[in-house]
């Protein structure tokens, strides 16, 4: 497996795992409160729709000329990656609430109970909430699968990495029988942001006609550089937001918000 393919698998796997954790929380909440069969029907319908989107847009993207494809994919990955990174940096500085799966689960359970009594048979509420949750969380993953996969003409490999992440998250959810609250989501989102921004920068510049020193090996410099800059921004923001007479905030177990090389 080449370096670019390893980056593809890692980026898609991490992005998919973190979105799957969030979708799992929603499905668990409506499944346990309302109806498992209706919730799982919603999951199946959303997964099918996502597969159709990937299958329909994949060939369209891969038919673009390589330079045009790289500019489009690079630009989109950069816009996406910078959003992921900015949010992860703000979370690590305490300026944005961290995603709390247990809180989300409680909120979804309360909403499901408030939605009225459930009649036997198909439960429209459980179906709709599961369908929407999986579709919305999955769209971003479908986009990452498409852009990374199309650019390297390895959409099946990207889809396999996404499928592996989903299977592992479902298995962990079944084992825990609860939301996966201990997954270090911010660290994972930080890592995904670094990967998307790095590959976006690499492909975007190449598509625009620039030549990286060392060709593909330039990624070995770009990824650490993005990591260092993002960590430095997170560090400086944490320092700026901490009152000067207070000690540093205690680190959260398993989710420090930044990653090391």
């Amino acid at each position: 497996m080449s370096g670019a393919e390893t980056g593809l698998v890692l980026s898609v796997f991490l992005a998919c795992a973190v979105e799957a954790v969030e979708a799992l929380t929603i499905v668990l909440a409506v499944g346990t409160t309302r109806s498992w069969s209706s919730a799982m029907t919603g999951v199946g319908a959303a997964t099918l729709l996502l597969a159709v989107i990937v299958a329909a847009l994949g060939p369209a993207l891969t038919s673009l000329p390589i330079d045009a494809l790289r500019v489009v994919v690079g630009g989109l990955l950069l816009i996406f990656g910078l959003q992921w990174l900015r949010k992860a940096i703000l979370r690590s500085a305490g300026l944005k609430a961290k995603h709390d799966e247990l809180e989300t689960f409680k909120g979804e359970v309360e909403a499901a109970r408030a939605a009225g009594t459930r009649r036997p048979g198909f439960d429209g509420y459980a179906f709709t909430v599961s369908f929407k949750g999986v579709l919305l969380e999955g769209l971003e993953v479908a986009f990452i699968v498409l852009t990374f996969g199309a650019n390297q003409h390895r959409i099946p490999l990207a889809a396999a990495a996404a499928a592996l992440a989903i299977v592992l998250v479902i298995a962990a959810g079944l084992a825990a029988r609860a939301p996966l609250a201990k997954v270090p989501e911010n660290t994972m989102k930080f890592a995904v942001g670094v990967m998307l921004s790095s590959f976006g920068m690499f492909w975007g510049a190449e598509g625009a006609g620039a030549h990286w020193p060392g060709n593909d090996a330039a990624l070995l410099g770009i990824i650490p550089a993005v990591l260092v800059v993002a960590n430095a921004l997170a560090w400086s923001l944490r320092r700026a937001t901490l009152p000067s007479d207070e000690p540093a905030m205690p680190a959260e177990a398993g989710d420090r918000g930044t990653v090391s090389a």
Partner: protein, 77 residues
């Protein structure tokens, strides 16, 4: 109405809540393309622009978050 809603959904999905960064990325790619047409090496432009855009975006968001928390604090006083 449906077309407008669809456009807004796509905009929200792709651009997110910081259109300035998205615009900056597009401009940086265009500038890289122009520079690549000349004899000057162009690879350095995009990293420089991206790091600058990220720093500005984080600074803007941090200012907005701080302002929001100050408004909330003054409201509760």
């Amino acid at each position: 109405m449906h077309i407008r809603a669809l456009f807004l959904s796509v905009w929200e999905f792709v651009v997110g809540d910081d259109w300035r960064t998205a615009l900056g990325v597009v401009l940086a790619l265009a500038l890289t393309s122009l520079l690549a047409e000349t004899a000057i090496s162009a690879w350095w432009l995009l990293p420089l622009a991206v790091f600058g855009l990220l720093a500005l975006s984080v600074r803007r968001a941090a200012r907005e978050a701080t302002a929001r928390s100050e408004v909330a604090r003054s409201g509760s006083d």
